[in-house]
Symmetry: none
Subunit: 464 residues, 2 copies
């Protein structure tokens, strides 16, 4: 396929307001249109395509909305070839020009080689790059070096509603012939150097409620004679992490993989300009001074962030209230081999311990609202070697071997349900601004990314 044609398709796709985060019928219709357009394109490519109806999404307000179908598609079923399954999503984060977009977020606009538009890098561009790579073989009337499968959803930004259910159901059908799973839904850590991602952190999100009564108090009328819930909560939250970022929950580091010299060397090999990173993030000073320490604390050590408090006075101005019931929110990013349910027990025990020492008459309830496992792959798997070779061919360089500090739960899910090797091959540059205003993908990344996937097919055929 002619790259220009690929860019035209990206323009068409970005023009669809396939926002899955705002649960309103208009965007949901756009999502259905988006999935139909993609299914049609795959069909024209010669794939067998199933658009699987996933039923209704129940909303917190009691209403429901239809879930866009998940596309399962197959191209080739030669038993002598390896089968690579590509995962992607075609829904996007909300975007509104009034929030600071310099161009219409739903009109793909090229400025200085950058293609601006919502979904350009997350994840419509990479999905199209993969399709473009496949269609290049078709256009050249060459056999595909590998069998290709696609699983494409439209609810990723809303938590991949229904995806796990489908993967579980298709484990021994659609996924039975799959050898490798490729995801391309994150970014490089540099503007010019490609990367391969072999791990992501998990996340345990906690809520700790401290309650005296449901109503608030006036601080003049009751201040001085109460165990105030905010005093308890601030003490609880203050017991979690010290000023150097070290988590104070006993036992929390017990299962963290020991650091080896070999692993340190992998961080040394990565290109990261700290000064540029600091400036582009608008941060005066990080907790650590070296590249290696920073990468390790983003990727291979857990971190604890306090997000906020629900139920306290949070508006501008000066209100003299003693909140009667408050909920503190914090989360711990998990790394191999931390276990979600062990962490839940450690955090709960720690908070109960701190709380009991206060002799407060308030009630405390700890709950884990979300528990997502960390994921790590074996970087000596076939497809990691193939991806490295393809990057050398297309970009003339070794890739940065990176992890992602955020959670990409589908990587872990595929690994656990399908039991096949998963790799993340990002195409976008570090400054693409996914989820942010003025999201873009560079034209260079989009075109070279298409070439990278084509080269990857050829390398996979050789190594399989």
């Amino acid at each position: 396929m002619d790259p220009k044609l690929g860019r035209m398709t990206l323009k068409e796709w970005v023009a669809i307001e396939s926002d899955s985060v705002q649960p309103v019928p208009r965007f949901r219709q756009e999502l259905f249109r988006m999935m139909a357009m993609a299914a049609d394109m795959l069909q024209r490519l010669g794939a067998r395509v199933a658009s699987v109806d996933m039923g209704l999404q129940q909303l917190p307000d009691g209403q429901s909305l239809p879930i866009p179908p998940i596309i399962l598609a197959e191209l080739g079923s030669d038993p002598t070839k390896g089968t690579v399954c590509f995962y992607g999503h075609l829904d996007v984060q909300p975007a509104d020009q009034g929030d600071g977009w310099l161009t219409d977020p739903y009109v793909l606009t090229e400025v200085d080689g950058k293609l601006y538009g919502r979904g350009a890098t997350d994840n419509k561009g990479p999905v199209l790059a993969w399709i473009n790579a496949v269609s290049a073989f078709r256009a050249l009337e060459q056999d595909l070096p590998v069998n290709i499968k696609f699983i494409i959803e439209g609810m990723e930004e809303a938590g991949s509603v229904a995806l796990e259910e489908l993967v579980e159901k298709e484990k021994d059908r659609f996924f039975s012939g799959v050898d490798y799973i490729v995801i391309s839904d994150n970014l490089w850590i540099s503007q010019r150097k490609p990367a391969i991602t072999y791990g992501t952190r998990g996340n345990s999100y906690f809520m700790v409620e401290v309650k005296c009564r449901d109503q608030d108090f006036h601080s003049g009328t009751f201040g001085g004679i109460l165990h105030e819930p905010m005093a308890d909560l601030v003490a609880l939250l203050g017991s979690l992490v010290d000023s150097s970022g070290h988590i104070l929950v006993p036992g929390i580091y017990d299962e963290v993989v020991r650091l080896t010299e070999e692993e340190i060397n992998t961080y040394k090999a990565i290109h990261l300009d700290l000064e540029e990173y600091r400036n582009s993030s608008q941060i005066e000073k990080f907790l650590f001074d070296t590249k290696e320490e920073i990468l390790m604390h983003l990727w291979r050590y857990p971190s604890l962030s306090i997000h906020g408090i629900e139920g306290a006075f949070d508006e501008p101005g000066a209100k003299t209230v003693i909140p009667g019931r408050v909920i503190g929110k914090f989360s711990i990013r998990l790394v191999p081999h931390m276990n979600v349910s062990v962490v839940e027990k450690q955090v709960t025990r720690h908070l109960e311990d701190v709380f009991s020492k206060r002799n407060s008459s308030n009630k405390m309830v700890v709950s884990m609202a979300l528990g997502l496992h960390p994921w790590i792959a074996n970087i000596n798997d076939t497809q990691y070697l193939a991806a490295k070779r393809a990057i050398r061919t297309v970009f003339g360089t070794e890739p940065d071997m990176i992890r992602d500090g955020s959670t990409i739960p589908i990587a872990k899910m595929f690994q656990e349900i399908v039991h096949k090797s998963v790799v993340l091959i990002p195409l976008g540059a570090v400054d693409d601004g996914e989820h942010s205003q003025n999201e873009k993908i560079n034209r260079w990344n989009y075109i070279e990314g298409t070439k990278l996937f084509a080269a990857f097919f050829l390398e996979m055929a050789q190594l399989h």
Copy 2:
């Protein structure tokens, strides 16, 4: 005036969303409407009324909003009579039905003899009771036993912006003929026994801002390498008070008046059913077990309350955000002879000390948003004796001689600028829930309170 008519006016007044705390044009317009309605009512009563324009309120964000006019009104100028000046306010605390109100906060709703609505007890009900008492003499075509003046403002809940300036200016004009000042802006400490208040605590309201950058961060992408502002803020707030309510700011107790045996006896004389107090407040357990300790910690010892945090995640649900800039809010209730500017220095020095030990790269700014002095009166002044007699007449009992844990800064201000005796004659019951959800005034309190003020006028005429 017919009490039913009085209740109807209270309904009209409560319907006005005269919220002075949230600095937005909509509420400010409501405040202007409120003040105009009150001025009109006083005029119809035959008073000479001046609505004094107080200019603009400068907001922290650089914007400004008009300050509602302060009403000065006079009824009678007989030089043989004493002149009593009544202070009240018609602005209210914020109220939102979603916060747990069982009825619309701006629709006065009677349930079992209780009149629910924002401002019903604080302070629209008592202001109307005073007006009703005056209009009762008018309706009976009797001469008023005393000359009456009114000073009514609309910014009390926002710190009485501009009031002091006006009192200072009117010191030798409007206030020159005033002999006594009556305020009715607090509550009894019982559900059925009236009280007279001779002291109030002051208040120092602090904001402590911790900033990394203006934008928030994603906790996956940055968690682990930042000095997170929330961790700093939680540590700062956690350094302020221990679990027994003891304030940890060095030197804060130095100027608190020493306790004598005689003073302890005054607390012993007060009727307070701890069990009932606990139940009506829906509190499982207070910090202290005896009546005397509880009264002392509400009235004669300082207290510190943490109100909340601005800029953090405060909504329901689980958002993985690292807030970039957060503002913690807390206040210290001051008692004789603590000094506002000394407290400001002590708190600032303490927070700077705690913050510097954290070695954080964030910026911290401490500011005192509000500094209000404590107040204490001589309980042998004429109007204290008159109020006691009036209470005996209307309620058939001795009043509780109490202080108020809240701040009524105007008491101190009137005492210092006008140099006249100030008394607080509360009308509302202990469970009225001022500043809280489901604020109410009992119908009984509202009607007997009107009678009490009328009897007070007669006693004042005798004793003056």
